[in-house]
């Protein structure tokens, strides 16, 4: 039986060789893409465009502008002379925020009973930059508040240096954005790669009519399934290693936990996605259909990897649903092992969930595919 499976695997690889675009894209293209995407988007939010309408034009107002620049959240703010410009720029989405400094700012600031005001306008049509801008501006406002207070109360900075929270960040001391986003990006690309590859396994032969040839050969359906799966698993695993290596060396994403454990669990995860892909591949009459199903399933799964939003913040229904999404558990495992040095003692619920899902999906897909082939 092993020999027959082996001959099937050889046949698949020969086939792949003539259509070498496919694995090439998946492997190299995928890794390069991850590199590119991570390079472009795994960054802190900086360089946001902003406008300032400085009606005060004093040293104090200029100090604010310098303060804004120093936050790094904003690029050098553009100075404008009227609200209309700001309105237009906001409408066009050209700026994330605008600051209006009233004419009496310096005076109010210096007077001991003055109430200086500032108007900040945030562009709500893009929430991520708006939130970042909000944070930066409020931070600046706090500083100004404290300086005013210290001045008015005649306190010396040592007497009341204000409120000093010290912030410690665990698992990600440098607050490197890459550590937040690249695991999810990696997860998404890996899932799509494996799903796509597996989904094409049978749908392609079905569409082109070569599946009859396959079925009249003296292979049992199990042998056929295994024979088709091996290339997918090999390529998927190679893809994983390649991408992991890439983020590790290019973005210093660490692997603090057990590397072996990570590999083993990665392999397990691949098998689960393989199962899903095979079901899709047998359900589909054409490659087009298979691909559309992969798109749908992949996008649904991706939501639960935590890239765009943490799962805890989702409606309760969806949080429950997340538990049957293999990718969700896999991302927790990936982040856990890579970033937190977590071991089985911590991750066992996820591993268990993955194992259960694997068994369920695996058995179902095996039955389903066998029945379809017979």
């Amino acid at each position: 039986m092993l020999k027959r499976i082996w001959s099937l695997v050889i046949k698949e690889f020969i086939h792949l060789r003539s259509d070498w675009w496919l694995p090439a894209f998946m492997l190299i293209g995928g890794a390069m893409e991850l590199l590119g995407v991570a390079w472009a988007t795994s960054r802190p939010i900086t360089n946001l465009p902003m406008m300032v309408f400085d009606q005060s034009q004093t040293a104090e107002s200029r100090a604010i502008i310098i303060g804004l620049e120093n936050t790094k959240t904003f690029r050098t703010p553009e100075q404008v002379n009227d609200m209309q410009t700001i309105q237009d720029a906001m409408d066009r989405g050209q700026i994330s925020a605008a600051l209006v400094i009233p004419p009496d700012y310096a005076g109010q600031l210096q007077s001991s009973t003055g109430k200086p005001t500032l108007l900040v306008i945030l562009n709500g049509s893009e929430s991520t930059p708006a939130q970042a801008a909000n944070r930066a501006v409020r931070g600046l406002a706090r500083d100004i508040d404290q300086r005013i207070l210290i001045g008015r109360l005649g306190l010396s900075p040592d007497q009341f240096s204000g409120f000093n929270p010290s912030l410690r960040v665990w698992f990600n001391e440098n607050l490197s954005e890459a550590l937040y986003t690249t695991p999810a990006e990696l997860g998404m690309m890996l899932e799509f790669t494996v799903l796509l590859f597996a989904a094409l396994a049978f749908s392609r032969e079905r569409e082109l009519g070569t599946i009859e040839q396959l079925l009249v050969m003296p292979f049992s359906s199990l042998e056929i399934i295994v024979g088709k799966s091996i290339p997918v698993v090999i390529i998927g695993f190679a893809d994983f290693l390649l991408m992991l290596g890439m983020v590790h060396f290019a973005f210093d994403v660490p692997i603090r936990g057990s590397f072996i454990l990570l590999l083993v669990l990665a392999f397990g995860y691949l098998l689960v996605e393989l199962g899903k892909g095979l079901v899709i591949s047998v359900m589909s009459k054409t490659q087009h259909q298979a691909f559309l199903l992969v798109l749908l399933v992949g996008m649904v799964d991706f939501m639960f990897t935590g890239y765009a939003a943490p799962v805890e913040s989702m409606p309760q229904v969806l949080q429950w649903f997340a538990n049957i999404i293999p990718a969700h558990h896999w991302l927790t495992i990936l982040r856990g092992i890579a970033l937190k040095d977590a071991g089985l003692d911590v991750l066992w619920p996820n591993v268990l969930a993955l194992a259960i899902l694997g068994i369920v999906i695996g058995t179902f897909s095996l039955q389903f595919v066998r029945k379809a082939l017979d």
């Binding site: 894209f25 893409e33 005001t117 049509s125 799509f192 559309l292 765009a308 939003a309 805890e312």
Partner: protein, 377 residues
Amino acid sequence: MSLRHIWAVTRKEVNHIVRDRSTLILVLFTPTLVLLLMAYALTVDLKNIPVAVLDFDRSQTSQAFIQQITAGQDLDIYAYATSMDEINAMLMRGQIKAAVIIAPGFARDLQALKGIPLQVIIDGTEPESGNFAVEHIVQRAEEFIDDALTKQLRAQGIVIESLQPLDLRVQTWYNPDLKPRNALIPGLISMVLGFPALSVALTLAHEREHGTLEQLLATPITRAELLLGKIVPYIIVGLFNVIIIPLLSIAWFHISLNGSFLLFFGLSAIFMFSVLGMGMIVGVFMRTQAAALALSFLVLFFPGFFMTGIFFPLASMPEEARLEAMFLPGTHYALVTRGIFLPGVGMDVLWPYAVMMLGLGVVFMALAALFFRKKLA
């Protein structure tokens, strides 16, 4: 350019799609389905973030402080820890996203107006929850300190009106509550409307794989006619989604389309032409559908998702990446949807994007026609 030829190809393609029921449904409804799901899931109003508290001071003050911090919906106290080890473990297991550690001399330091040391630890692997927790804690803590300070100063006979002398007024335009969903949905719309391009990439390879290309090439049809005829059905699919998605978004998510729907429709048609042109040029090079799929995922799907400024702002990308993003029709269309939905701007603002998309579309189709040779090999 013979319209008759283009129409013949379009009719054939439509028949082809329509006769495969399941594929038809998938092609027609995938954009909408994905959008609805994502909008539903990603309406992230952060709340109920689990935190732990480690109080070394255990004074009335520190207890009041903890109350203040955790009042309301945003943070939930998962546990009162008794040691750093416990905090370690809880963070490890992902049971808490942040921890607040109150040093032993808290009440005393507060009294003496000294700098108040407060440690907040966050799980660095989860940016959103962590940052949110920190901001919330910091804000509440400041209020607390301010109160205490004001009382203190009054006791000393110093009267201060407010500890926040600076009156910072924040207006959020277009989206007063800064609900992420309202900002995200237009971006998501622009992303899902790019899906038909993936199907377009398949179509030439489909003819090759099934052998029908041979007879087709033996006819007088020109390359441009063939390619145009093939994208028209998918423009229709796209426009179908352009109609139902806003309807559903407005009905279900209550977001508002403040601009003109007609304008949105027209610009969407231009986008469809543009992004499908991109799909076509990807498809021209590949001999098999599988390869076309793989390439289109790399060139159309992932960039369309990550690099068009929907999730990560263009301004914060490195210069080169931003430049590359300009060549993606999705980048411009995302700006169109953003402008039309919330700010509700008109053609006077959006015309540059329309021009860019049209230009890109023409270039893509022209390149596709150029690279596609009417030869079998």
